[in-house]
């Protein structure tokens, strides 16, 4: 209870400082005040724009993350378990991995057009490597004694060893990878949308949280820009907490401490 009081006081204090500074500067375009942002937010919530923006961004996110998980985890497993695959694939990955995902924007647009798949591709490029590397590391760090225990108990085939021993042992690491990947992926959502990538979900209009930041910036409505920024952060926070909860309750209940 005491900790909570402190947290609330701290946040309230920061908001008051913000409000005071905004009033001193007194230029909405440099720093909108807290009250202005709240007003903008309330206005936004009462309309039907916001949910379309959120759905659009989540749509991109799900496409990209889905692909990153579908590629990153199996590839990480193969590389972590089979040395030859590791040797063959690793140099290629190490060539592509250092390229910042946003550098793929031109190709994303040329290959996929301004569609949801271009956004998905960008998010994929951002999220796949953390997932891959953490899956790989998790597999590599499977305690030898667990693999050997499995072997003496009759678990001999690679397939059995992978799915019954190495995969569960690597789950904490894989969960961390997905979590880091989601962080990078969400960043890429904003970048993709700023380039006008859009879905056809809602007709010909462009939606998306990242897009709206750009849109309102062009109109110099910085209170709206800030509102969308806060929403962006809030959704990332919710996704992260949700993921953590699911992982903790379903995947990793067996763990002694909190890892992710």
């Amino acid at each position: 209870m005491k900790g909570q009081t402190l947290e609330i006081t701290s946040v309230a204090f920061a908001i008051i400082i913000w409000e005071i500074i905004a009033r001193i500067i007194n230029r909405k375009i440099i720093l909108p005040s807290f009250l202005e942002v709240v007003t903008a937010f309330l206005e936004l919530v009462s309309g039907d724009e916001l949910y379309k923006d959120i759905l659009t961004s989540l749509n991109f996110f799900v496409i990209g993350m889905g692909a990153a998980i579908a590629v990153g985890i199996p590839l990480g497993i193969m590389m972590g378990w089979f040395k030859t695959i590791d040797k063959a694939v690793d140099p290629i990955i190490e060539m592509i991995r250092p390229i910042p995902p946003l550098a793929w924007i031109p190709f994303a647009i040329l290959w996929f057009g301004l569609t949801q798949y271009a956004a998905g591709f960008l998010i994929f490029m951002g999220a796949v490597f953390p997932i891959l590397v953490n899956t790989y590391t998790g597999f590599r760090n499977t305690p030898k004694v667990l693999v050997e225990s499995g072997k003496v108990l009759g678990c001999i085939k690679n397939r059995d060893l992978i799915f019954r021993i190495a995969l569960p042992a690597a789950l904490p690491s894989i969960a961390t990878g997905v979590r880091v990947g989601m962080g990078v992926g969400w960043m890429c959502v904003v970048a993709a949308e700023m380039f006008g990538v859009r879905t056809e979900m809602f007709g010909l209009n462009t939606y998306g949280i990242g897009w709206k930041i750009w849109h309102w910036y062009a109109l110099h409505h910085m209170d709206m820009v800030l509102t969308y920024m806060v929403i962006l952060g809030f959704i990332a926070f919710v996704i992260d907490r949700l993921f953590r909860y699911i992982v903790q309750e379903w995947w990793l209940k067996w763990q002694a401490g909190t890892v992710v």
Binding site: L153, G154, W254
Partner: protein, 253 residues
């Protein structure tokens, strides 16, 4: 019966050196015999046990269990490791049913079997706990149950009680003997402790310092249950300590 004839094992280090781990090991172990391996650190006893388990291959020599050659891990040999080796993502019960799942034994049946073994090691009320909730001694008891559930002929134990405190260790030794008497398995048990060997073994195999050879195979004919501090036990202990002492000195030199 377990039979080892002229077995050799040499390791090659990355620098290109050769380390002879086991040299010309010949050993016969009768069914239902309790054998302790004892010797200085690094004498190759663990290597021998791992070769018998099928986790490593010898360079030369023959190795059979019930006249069948050992080519890899198999259900006729179970192993309890020195480190805690329970699968942390499985409950105690599910750890024990692991090998039964691989054998495709139906769920209700394998859980019944597992509960019987849990009862045997006195941990029935911990069936649904996770390994991290157990003490070190309890973990090793579950590991024993997990190895036993597969009904192996030979139980290989690599210093299983090395990491538990002295009191727990004494209790675990008692329990192990109880299980051994009930289930009548052949047990190969590595230990550093002469006391442990004298309390447990029918036969003690003393290894030399590297390269590991068998220095002496010593039968202990004391009646069971044994008195740890009886005159006879002390005499055996004295003899083993003297034999071992020379080797430990050699290992240090």
């Amino acid at each position: 019966m377990l039979s080892i004839k002229n077995l050799n094992k040499t390791y090659h280090t990355e620098e290109g050196d050769e380390v002879v781990a086991l040299s010309d090991i010949t050993l016969y172990v009768a069914d239902k015999e309790f054998v302790c391996f004892i010797g200085p650190s690094g004498c190759g006893k663990t290597t021998l046990l791992r070769i018998i388990a099928g986790l490593e291959e010898p360079d030369s020599g023959t190795l059979t269990v019930n006249n069948e050659p050992i080519t890899g891990p198999g259900p006729n040999r179970g192993m309890v490791f020195q480190e805690y080796s329970l699968f942390p993502w499985r409950t105690v019960l599910k750890n024990i049913t692991f090998s039964l799942e691989l054998k495709k034994i139906p769920k209700s049946e394998r859980e019944k079997i597992a509960r019987d073994f849990l009862k045997l090691v006195g941990l029935l009320e911990f069936a649904d706990s996770y390994p991290h909730e157990l003490s070190g001694g309890m973990k090793q008891r579950v590991a024993i149950a997990r190895a036993m559930v597969n009904d192996p002929d030979v139980l290989l134990m690599d210093e299983p009680f090395g990491a538990v405190d002295a009191q727990t260790r004494n209790r675990l030794q008692h329990e192990l003997l109880n299980i051994w008497e009930k289930k009548k398995k052949t047990v190969l048990f590595i230990t550093h402790s002469v006391d442990e060997a004298v309390f447990l073994a029918d036969k003690v195999v003393v290894f030399t310092a590297r390269p590991g050879r068998i220095k002496e195979v010593f039968s202990i004919d004391l009646p069971r249950p044994r008195e740890r501090t009886s005159f006879e036990a002390n005499a055996v202990r004295e003899h083993l300590l003297a034999t071992l002492g020379a080797e430990i000195q050699a290992a240090i030199d």
